[in-house]
Structures are given as structure tokens and as C-alpha cells.
Amino acid sequence: MSAPTVSPSASAQTSPAPARKPGSAPLRWLRRNAVVLAGAASLVYLLLPNAVVMLFSFNKPAGRFNYEWRTFSTDAWTDPCGVADMCGSLALSLQIGLLATVFATAFGTFAAFALARYRFRGKGTGNALIFLPMAMPEVVMGASLGTLFLNTRVAFGFVTILIAHIMFCLSFVVVAVKARVMSMDPRLEEAARDLYAGPVQTFLRVTLPLAAPGIAAGAMLSFALSFDDFIITQFNAGPSTVTFPVFVWGAAQRGVPVQVNVIGTAMFLIAVAIVLGGRIASGRRRRQA
């Protein structure tokens, strides 16, 4: 009769604490969350500059330089165009960015289809040359293009900037669209043709929708590159065509106005909104499907 009474007490003593690895609780927590922490740290690293820009857009600097935090103010936000010439340069940059995107995306898409789909003499060379503008240092490209315009007596201004921007955006569009087109199954277009779609219908109903993600990626890349470009623009701009990056560079010599931070923050927020919007839309599509 003794055995049954003894065993419960024995098990009660041993069961509550299974052997644990040595180390304190915080260390264990660290081990378990190391990947998350590393990820969070890299995100902070990436986004900290944006946070600083955002924060200083609410600053009220003492002098001309917006480098030291003084007091909170929404002055710059309520009067974003308060700085002479800044909004004009912004409008110019947006114009050039949009036009360069449209042209580069259109030409680049055609080129990508040609390079991905057809066989022709010089295809290999074409493929290699397309990469050249991406690999070439911008200074070299900007300077040589400037020399070309100078020697052909083309007046520097809006058109020369636009031509330069289309040129360097083109490669990125070609690369983005080509990657997409190469991964598309040519049998899908054959299936469309088999199902009574003529050449135009096949392109509009099957080819284009399938290539769209690549084209969109190329277009977004183009706009970002064009809007942001300083070096090449500097070599090819006329005296009266001051784009936003050129304006900021000029202003930085004399003291950066807070409004630059406002524009920077606004651009960042718009980009975030576009990305989030795309995410939500694709998520909804997936749920509906």
C-alpha cells in the first residue's frame, strides 16, 4: 500500500522544472528575437535620415541654416512656396520627371520586347550596350553629353535636360521590362491567337497585362531617377532651367530653407502612400480571388 502514496509526492517534486539551458531570461529572449532585432535595426538605419528630414521640417531655425533644433513650428508647412524660386524648380522637376518617364517607358518597353522576343543581327551587342549607361559614371555621361550639345550648338535648357533624362532612364526600363517579358510564357500569346484574338487584341488582352508589372516598375524607377538627378542635369541645364535638386544644391551654399525639408517629407509620404496603396489593392484582389 505504500507505493501509491509515495509516487504522487515524488512526481510532484520532479515535474515542475524540466532541465533548462543555462543563461538568464533576457539572454534567452535576445537569442529568440535576434533576427527580428537585426531586421528592425536595418530598417532604422534606412529610415533614420527620413525621420530627421521630417522632424526638421517643423523646426524654426535661428539663422539661415536648418541644422540645429530650436522650436516647433508649422510655418514652413503653411507656406511651402515661401522661398523664392523653389516651387518653380519643383514644378520643372515634376514636368521633366513625368515626360522623361513617359518617353523612357514607351521606348524602353519597345526595346525590351525586341531584345527579349526577336532574333536579329546585332542583338547581342544591343543587349550589352543597353547596360552601358547604368555602368558608366554619371559625371562622365553628363559631361560628354554636355560636350555633345555644345558642339552641335543645341541651346541648353528644358529640352537638353529632358533628352539627357530619357537617355539614362531608358536602360533601367529596358532591364525591368525585359526581365518580365523573358519570364512570360510565349504559349499564352499562342493560346490567345488560337482563341480568336487578332494581333492587336492579343497584345492588349494578354501581352500587355502580363508585362504590366515590369513596365510599372520601369516607370517608377524612371521617375525616381529623373526627379532626383543632379549630376547629369547640372551639365546639361541652361541658366534659367533650375530643377529641384539643382535648387537645393544652390541653396545649401547659402543656407537651406526649411521648405526643402517640407518638400522632401511630402515626397517621402507620397511614395509611402503609393506603396501602401498598391499593397492594399493587391491584397484585396487576392482575397477576392
Binding site: R187, L188, E190, R193, D194, L195, A197, G198, Q288, A289
Partner: protein, 380 residues
């Protein structure tokens, strides 16, 4: 509608995919183009669809010459290998694609009916990537059939499915073909698939049709070693014709005095003459195997049978049957299938046996061809 191919050929650079080919595919038939990969069967199908331009020859659909028509103007639809479903459209829009391109706007009822036919009604709003292989296959079929084509082309439609599903879909396809009654042209490398489904099979090899006929005709009376080996298995014996005896040919296996007999009409050689060389063939399941000790008992009723003695080298248990490999003086690896009904325990490797089969189950082929054409060894 009847498809008539006249002298159709296709050359890619210096490779001739299809040699000039004449083929008539009768209306309402289930027609299979059977062959190993690279034999030109898919190219032939693509030329009918209009996706490949023939190098020469013409294609007629009924009385109309469609050789020059682009694919979207041909009343022909294709079920592609790996299906080629549009990934950006859901199942019902995939199925509706052909109708919409022809300007039909009220497609809903037809799409519903078609999805009902292939038993996919509840998946209409899914995207292709959310479907299993078998379901995608049905969508591809529905997408083609909804257009009521004059001819449906199927390019290895079951190739991506596992064996069990493939068997099921074979019957399903046959059912649908009977139900809609349109001409099906089916390309496959699977001889079993072709024989199960098709009314007529054209066996293709190296860009040519080797033989055309009903499945049993091809199987029972192959006219070339390629067909004899590609459709099932054949045992081939080199033999010499000794004499003709009425409707029968008498032969002797080369290098031995084993006598063989077969009806002259089962010889694929034109005008067989005494002294001519042929390959005598027999299917493994037509052979009865007896232990050498019993060979002479019951010989009364089978005295006219072809007989061949040998020694069992290998015996394999296949469930429904036993597969034996028998070494004989005339042919090293004679294949024999025996039903698993009353197994003679003495029929084990090493046993001396006598094989026997009826002359009516024997065929003869021209000896001037490669006896291994169409076998696995040949393709390696």
C-alpha cells in the same frame, strides 16, 4: 469536319520536322498522333492550329483551304501542353476569352454550362494558380470547347498529370468527345493513352507516319519494327521463307531448323518469295508456356502452333500476370506474359520450357529494318 492534310511539311533550318505528309482525319473521330518526342507530331498539330506555317503542302477543313489563315481565323481550338491558362484572368474569364474575342457579350450562361460539363462550377472565380493540375486541365478543355470548334486539338493534354488522374481524365475526355461529337486530334507519346482513347492512331517516327489504323489493327498487325516495338512489346525472330503453302507461309528461323508458320496476309512484305528474309513477330501475351516435360501432352489440338523451346532466364511477378524472359536459340530475350491463373511451380529461372502460339497471332516484317527501332534501347 474532315481535316485533309496534303503533302504538308515543315523544315526548321536544316532539320526536317515533318516530311511531306498526307493525312485525312474523318469528321467526328478521335484521332491520335502517337510518337516519341521530336517525331513531328506536335509540329503537325501546330500547323493545323495555324501556329506554325507549313513549308509546303495544304490543309483543308471540309472543303475550305485554311493553309494561309492566321490562327484566330480558324474554327479550330487547342488544349495546350501545360494548359497555357491566362494567369491574370479568373477561371470564368479564361473560359469566356474566345467568346468575348468574337464579340459575344452575354457569355455567362454558356460559361456556366461549360464549367458544369467539366465539373468546375464552384471554382469560377478562382485564379489558375489556385487550381490543381487536374482542375487546370479541365479549365483548358472548357476554354477550348466553349467555342464549339470544328476540330479540337490536344497537345499532350494529360502529360503533366499523375498516373491515376491521367487514367481518369482519359475516360473523361472520351466521354466529352462522345458528348460534343466534334473531331478531336490528340498528340501523345503515351501509347496506352492513344490506344485507350482514339478511334484511329497515326504512329509517327522521324517526321513520317509509320502506320495508321485502329488501335487493335496497329497492335495485332504492325507493319514496321518501330510500330511493333513502340506499341507494346514484340518478340522478333529473324527467319527465312522456305515455301508458301496455300494461304500460309512456312519459314525457318535463321541459323536453326525451327519451323514457323503464319498466314500470308499477316506478312508486311509485299509479294513474299521463298528464300526471302523476314522478321517474324509475336506479342508476349499470345504465347503459352509449358514445362519441357509436358510439352508433348495435349499437342493434338495445337499441332499447327508455332513452337520454340528455351530456358527461363528470369521470372517477374506483376500481380495480374507473370512476366518471363526466356533464352532461345533464335532470339536471346523472348518475353512471355502468362495470366496468373494456375501457376506451374516448375516455371522458375533455369527451367527448360516450350513456348507455343498460334500462326494467326504471328506477323512478319521486312527484315531490312532495325529490329530494335522504337524500343527503349533504341531511344537511349
Amino acid at each position: 469536319m474532315t481535316i485533309t492534310l496534303t503533302g504538308i511539311s515543315k523544315v526548321f533550318g536544316d532539320f526536317t520536322a515533318v516530311h511531306p505528309l498526307d493525312l485525312t482525319i474523318p469528321e467526328g473521330s478521335f484521332f491520335a498522333l502517337l510518337g516519341a518526342s521530336g517525331c513531328g507530331k506536335t509540329t503537325t498539330l501546330r500547323m493545323i492550329a495555324g501556329l506554325e506555317e507549313p513549308t509546303g503542302g495544304s490543309i483543308r477543313l471540309g472543303d475550305e483551304d485554311i493553309t494561309g489563315l492566321p490562327p484566330h481565323k480558324r474554327p479550330v481550338n487547342t488544349v495546350f501542353q501545360n494548359y497555357a491558362l491566362f494567369p491574370h484572368l479568373d477561371v470564368s474569364e479564361n473560359v469566356a476569352f474566345g467568346l468575348r474575342r468574337r464579340g459575344i457579350t452575354s457569355v455567362r450562361k454558356q460559361v456556366e454550362e461549360m464549367l458544369e460539363l467539366v465539373e468546375l462550377g464552384q471554382l469560377a472565380k478562382r485564379k489558375p494558380r489556385q487550381l490543381s493540375g487536374g482542375q487546370q486541365q479541365r479549365v483548358a478543355l472548357a476554354r477550348a470547347l466553349i467555342n464549339r470548334p470544328q476540330v479540337l486539338l490536344l497537345d499532350e493534354p494529360l502529360g503533366a498529370l499523375d498516373l491515376k488522374l491521367r487514367r481518369q481524365m482519359q475516360l473523361e475526355l472520351k466521354r466529352i468527345q462522345t458528348e460534343v461529337g466534334i473531331t478531336f486530334v490528340h498528340v501523345t507519346h503515351d501509347q496506352e493513352e492513344a490506344m485507350t482513347m482514339a478511334d484511329t492512331v497515326a504512329v509517327m517516327n522521324a517526321g513520317r507516319v509509320e502506320q495508321l489504323g485502329a488501335p487493335d489493327e496497329l497492335y495485332e498487325r504492325p507493319r514496321s519494327t518501330f510500330v511493333a516495338n513502340f506499341l507494346g512489346t514484340s518478340n522478333l525472330i529473324e527467319a527465312e521463307i522456305t515455301e508458301t503453302e496455300g494461304e500460309y507461309l512456312l519459314l525457318k528461323a535463321v541459323g536453326t531448323d525451327t519451323a514457323l508458320r503464319l498466314p500470308a496476309e499477316r506478312c508486311a512484305v509485299e509479294d513474299p518469295q521463298a528464300g526471302g528474309k523476314v522478321l517474324v513477330g509475336v506479342r508476349p501475351e499470345k504465347i503459352t508456356l509449358a514445362h519441357a516435360e509436358d510439352a508433348d501432352t495435349g499437342s493434338g489440338k495445337g499441332s499447327a502452333d508455332n513452337r520454340l523451346s528455351g530456358r527461363i532466364r528470369d521470372a517477374g511477378y506483376l500481380g495480374v500476370s507473370m512476366q518471363y524472359v526466356v533464352d532461345t536459340p533464335v532470339c536471346p530475350e523472348f518475353s512471355v506474359y502468362e495470366q496468373n491463373v494456375e501457376r506451374d511451380a516448375r516455371l522458375a529461372p533455369g527451367a527448360e520450357v516450350v513456348m507455343r502460339w498460334r500462326p494467326a497471332h504471328t506477323f512478319a516484317l521486312d527484315a531490312a529494318q532495325d529490329a530494335d527501332a522504337g524500343t527503349l534501347e533504341d531511344s537511349l
